[in-house]
């Protein structure tokens, strides 16, 4: 009871603060006061949680307690969810969409009627005006059909996001209502044949006409989801901008209507999965775009693109969770009915393991997704791109494993088209690829954190390099203490603790990981400095550890809340949370041991060598085992 009460207290405390911040934001009158408040806080609001982990700190106020929505909001969500769920269960024939590689018009119309084309567009523009959290909730259901999920995501997570976050009032008024109703469908045109994530190699060119009223866009864009039927496109093109008297090529974002003319779309790509989504090449031939249709500033397209890409990722967590939950229902049905050797499949340990894996993964993804969505829903413009990227990486990979394990439970049956598993596996494969490949996102996560930690630690590291004995002694002492097993206390448990005692051990593990991670980051910065950008294998481990720690945080936070307010089956949540934390703890420790200098666990040098040999010859170079020399 004690614990519950102070948990509740600590939950109330940051809320109070937030409300204040929120007021200030809107009223402006109290701005000064808030400013003072902010300077008192050690970190500005936009930092969010993950970056602090790089310093070995847990900014628990950010993630504890687990974000909640109000009861009325919850009612609202339930009202939305029920018809959507019904629609997806009854009206959507995923097998047919997959077979015919086309979403039928009546299905699209149904989606429009449900308002799913404007989930996050504010109500004043005719959308549903739902928060990130509710968007995530709806995505759980939408994800049951990969093609529809991708079509909708291309429309609203990236396609119209540009107008929503960077467009001016006129643009919003002009375009958003029709986009919200689904009358117009949006697409996001960034990728080009020669340019994936490299802005410098974008070839599409926008030139200003002589009267200065139009831009003419020429070029072609690749792999554009919804490219075939989109009416409104966010197009990124190079424009010549004068900066300090020097002419420079800069990216600018444009709103391009198909009605402007000169736009042709190619044949839909024949894809492995998400076959119902219309992905094709779109060519722009002298398309006239009025100057009013520039999103943001001329030459400011890079930021627009980055913000759009960064904001859309968090929902993948709930999508994957939704999918896995569905798969668990389907497979468990089979596992308990199928008999081998007079025993149900469900009695076999190796089958049980797969279900546990799916449950843990779904639980972690959900926790991460809603934690992140809740953080994004806080007032102000919190930068949660790091967290969102982590959710995306974790859930896309977990989703892939779970789908394939679910298929494995059914064995040969799962491999046939009679069951939906093979379709899920195919659809799932896109997740680690799009919206920034997982490799690129790992780089983003690790480097952003490194930059942050570097800013803080540079002075200290320089002192140490200069041979400041006091500093070095301090460092050595700290290391010695941890190696001798001194417990780390970052305030998750004990007095002022935020984690429920039944999760205490897991919380301790997280604290240990975080503190070791802080030291690891410091030593990495010491060793590599800014040249760490070239150490991709190191960065990958850093990102993996961080992702695991964020996942641990999310499950601890969620499970603590569940116990405290007595949600149904919260004991199961505790079990899942503890199991996951235990597992992640060992993985993290292993990764961090690998990050130590001269660590025998680290195979990087050999890995690079192997890859080099293969790439030099562009083939597998070993002799065939049947080959002989005499």
């Amino acid at each position: 009871m004690n614990v519950n009460s102070f948990l509740a207290l600590s939950r109330a405390f940051p809320r109070e603060k937030n409300r204040l911040v929120c007021h200030a934001w809107h009223l402006g009158k109290q701005a000064l006061r808030v400013q003072q408040r902010r300077t008192i806080r050690t970190h500005s609001r936009s930092l969010a949680y993950a970056k602090d982990l790089f310093l070995g700190q847990i900014n628990k106020a950010e993630v504890f307690p687990y974000p909640e929505i109000g009861s009325d909001e919850l009612e609202e969500v339930k009202q939305f969810v029920a018809p959507v769920e019904k629609f997806f269960n009854e009206e959507v024939d995923s097998a047919k969409i997959d077979r015919e590689a086309k979403i039928p018009a009546e299905t699209l119309n149904g989606l429009k009627e449900l308002g799913l084309f404007g989930i996050m567009i504010p109500e004043e523009y005719g959308g549903l005006g739902l928060s990130n959290t509710m968007y995530a909730r709806l995505n759980e259901i939408i994800a049951l059909d990969g093609s529809i999920a991708v079509t909708l995501a291309a429309h609203q997570a990236i396609g119209l996001k540009g107008i929503l976050i960077a467009g001016n009032e006129a643009q919003k008024k002009k375009y958003l209502p029709k986009l919200a109703s689904g009358e117009h469908i949006a697409a996001f045109c960034l990728t080009e044949p020669g340019s994936g994530s490299d802005a410098a190699s974008i070839q599409t060119l926008a030139t200003l006409s002589e009267d200065g009223k139009h831009y003419r866009i020429n070029g072609s864009k690749f792999w554009i989801s919804n490219g075939g039927f989109a009416d409104i496109m966010t197009v990124f093109a190079r424009t010549v901008v004068e900066v300090d008297g020097v002419k420079k090529d800069k990216i600018t974002a444009f709103i391009v209507e198909k009605a402007f003319g000169g736009i042709t779309s190619g044949k839909p790509e024949d894809k492995l999965g998400i076959r119902g989504s219309y992905t094709c090449e779109v060519s722009f031939d002298d398309v006239p775009v009025p100057v009013e249709n520039v999103i943001g500033e001329v030459g400011g397209g890079f930021k627009v693109a980055m913000n759009i890409l960064n904001s859309g990722r968090f929902s993948m967590g709930s999508s994957c969770a939704g999918m896995i939950k569905k798969l668990m229902e389907l497979t468990s049905e089979y596992a308990v009915s199928r008999k081998q050797f007079n025993r149900n499949l469900s009695e076999f340990g190796m089958i049980q393991e797969k279900f546990a894996l799916m449950a843990i993964n779904a639980f972690v993804m959900e926790s991460m997704a809603y934690l992140t969505a809740g953080m994004m829903d806080r007032p102000g413009v919190p930068d949660c791109s790091l967290e969102a990227a982590m959710v995306k990486v974790f859930s896309s990979e977990g989703g892939w494993i779970c789908c394939s394990e679910a298929l494995q439970v059914l064995g040969g049956l799962g491999y046939t088209k009679n069951y939906p598993f093979e379709r899920y596996v195919r659809d799932c494969r896109i997740l680690p690829i799009f919206e920034g490949t997982n490799e690129i996102l790992r780089m983003y996560v690790a480097l952003t954190g490194m930059q942050y930690a570097g800013n803080v630690l540079t002075g200290k590291i320089k002192e140490m390099k200069k041979g400041n004995i006091f500093m070095a002694m301090n460092m050595a002492g700290k290391k010695l203490r941890t190696s001798l097993g001194a417990s780390v206390d970052l305030g998750l448990t004990g007095k002022d603790g935020v984690v429920h005692p039944s999760l205490e051990e897991s919380a301790k593990k997280l604290e240990q990981n975080v503190s070791l991670f802080g030291m690891t980051v410091e030593s990495l910065l010491y060793r590599y400095g800014k040249s760490i950008v070239d150490e991709q294998l190191v960065l990958k481990r850093v990102a993996d550890v961080l992702i695991n720690m964020y996942a641990m945080t999310a499950v601890l936070s969620r499970a603590s809340r569940s116990i405290s307010i007595g949600l149904r089956n919260h004991d199961h949540e505790v079990l899942l949370a503890n199991t996951f934390c235990n597992d992640a703890f060992f993985k993290n420790n292993y990764s961090m041991v690998q990050l130590q200098k001269h660590s025998p666990e680290n195979n990087d040098a050999s890995i690079k060598k192997i890859a080099q040999a293969v790439l030099e010859n562009r083939s597998y170079i070993c002799s065939h085992p049947l080959e002989r020399t005499f």
Partner: protein, 448 residues
């Protein structure tokens, strides 16, 4: 006697059978020289049985009779045959003749030494069957030690040494012995003899070294100069992206006056990276066509030319500026004031000497400026910038030209190509041949 396991013996006897068959065919081919009863001759299992056999062959050639009279060299035998032609068949014939003249194989050691010496002349120095046949000349089982004293001391040292010499020559030509060789050696010298040890060493090292060269030269080299040029250019460039282009195939044209004019082949190579570099080249700075440079492919030497430029002077070098708006997803550089720790610096401190870029390479049989100009204009199709860059020809006559026939054009930039000159100073008869084959004599004893 041979003390192998039963399985080994089986294998041996199978090999022997094979030997019998092959030598039979040889015998049949050379039947002009042999008596019809030659089928019997192949192996004698023991000296005893050898004695009981009647003399199986009679030598018909007068050269043989001469040889039996004198102690003088076995080389005579080869000399006589070589008057007609030097081929594998005649070499075989000589061996057959020798083995059939004398049942005791008198003078076989001298014969084998002579044969070894003559092998390159007959072009059989890389022929395993010939080596085996040569070993077969040794009488079998005579030199196998029979008791521990013989085994302890060097039994029949001259013969063993000769056997080792055969293996040594095989080794120097890179010929790996086979199981037949082993069977023969065991039969001749016994299990633990010096030749067998040599054989074992060869079999230990040869397989290990067989693929040690990451850039093996094909054996034999292609005959066609164009193919050879493509091969060599790819070998120098060592770039899978590089594209070879044949700008001109060799051909001859007859002018109005009835003169025959030979046109050389021109083969070039360029990689996309080189094209990129060339496109970035400052057109105010000249590019140079330089050469000829030699490339040795075992005993063959070919020459190539390069298109290069001087290294860009430091004041012209453009530093790539970091653009923070380059990557949509992650920072390409960190804004930190920390460098890599010395302890983690894994690169050696190497003095970087900027040598200037090489843009393309070519091979042609005729290295005059006109021909190379043709190459440059061919390159220009894919590298339009070449039309704007001054191209200078800095062609070397090559060091050996001085030895060559006094050249009237010496001093000009386009001098006849050294390729067209024989190394021994004779003027070239055939300017078409880009390939210069060294005199086989000189390659003696050259380890391959």
């Amino acid at each position: 006697n041979v003390s192998d396991g039963p399985a080994d013996r089986m294998k041996c006897s199978r090999c022997l059978l094979q030997l019998v068959r092959t030598s039979r065919t040889v015998v049949q081919r050379g039947s002009l020289l042999l008596s019809p009863s030659s089928g019997q001759l192949i192996f004698r299992c023991s000296p005893v049985s050898a004695k009981s056999q009647p003399e199986p062959v009679r030598f018909v050639n007068d050269g043989g009779t001469k040889k039996t009279k004198s102690l003088v060299t076995q080389e005579d035998l080869f000399e006589q045959v070589s008057k007609e032609s030097k081929t594998k068949a005649t070499f075989n014939q000589v061996i057959d003749v020798f083995t059939k003249t004398d049942i005791r194989r008198r003078g076989h050691v001298e014969f084998i030494y002579a044969a070894l010496k003559k092998m390159p002349e007959f072009g059989v120095e890389r022929d395993l069957t010939i080596y085996n046949k040569l070993l077969d000349v040794f009488p079998k089982e005579v030199f196998v030690p029979r008791n521990f004293i013989q085994r302890m001391f060097n039994h029949y040292p001259r013969q063993q040494e000769c056997g080792v010499q055969v293996l040594e020559q095989m080794e120097s030509y890179g010929i790996m012995p086979n199981i037949e060789t082993k069977v023969l050696l065991v039969q001749i010298f016994g299990e633990k003899s010096h030749p067998i040890r040599k054989y074992q060493r060869i079999m230990y090292w040869f397989p290990k070294f067989k693929h040690v060269n990451p850039f093996p030269v094909p054996q034999p080299l292609p005959e066609d100069p164009v193919d050879l040029a493509i091969l060599s250019l790819n070998r120098i460039a060592n770039d899978l992206d590089a594209k070879t282009t044949v700008y001109q195939l060799p051909f001859t044209d007859i002018t109005e006056s009835g003169e025959e004019i030979g046109f050389p082949h021109i083969v070039g190579i360029q990689s996309p990276n080189q094209m990129e570099l060339l496109a970035k080249h400052n057109p105010n700075r000249p590019v140079f066509v330089e050469g000829p440079f030699p490339l040795w492919l075992k005993k063959t030497c070919v020459y190539y030319y390069i298109l290069r430029a001087d290294p860009t002077p430091p004041e012209e070098k453009e530093e790539e500026v970091y653009d923070p708006e380059r990557c949509f997803y992650y920072p390409l550089q960190l804004d930190l004031d920390l460098d890599r720790d010395l302890g983690d610096e894994e690169n050696f401190d190497v003095d970087d000497l900027d040598e200037g870029p090489v843009f393309a390479m070519c091979m042609t049989s005729q290295g005059d400026q006109a021909t190379l100009n043709q190459w440059i204009s061919g390159l220009q199709q894919n590298n339009p910038i070449l039309g704007r860059i001054p191209t200078l020809f800095r062609l070397d006559a090559g060091t050996r030209e001085l030895e060559g026939a006094a050249d009237t054009e010496a001093g000009h930039s386009h001098r006849p190509h050294p390729q067209s000159q024989r190394e021994d100073g004779l003027p070239a008869e055939d300017s078409e041949a880009a390939v210069e084959e060294e005199e086989p004599r000189r390659s003696h004893g050259m380890k391959q």
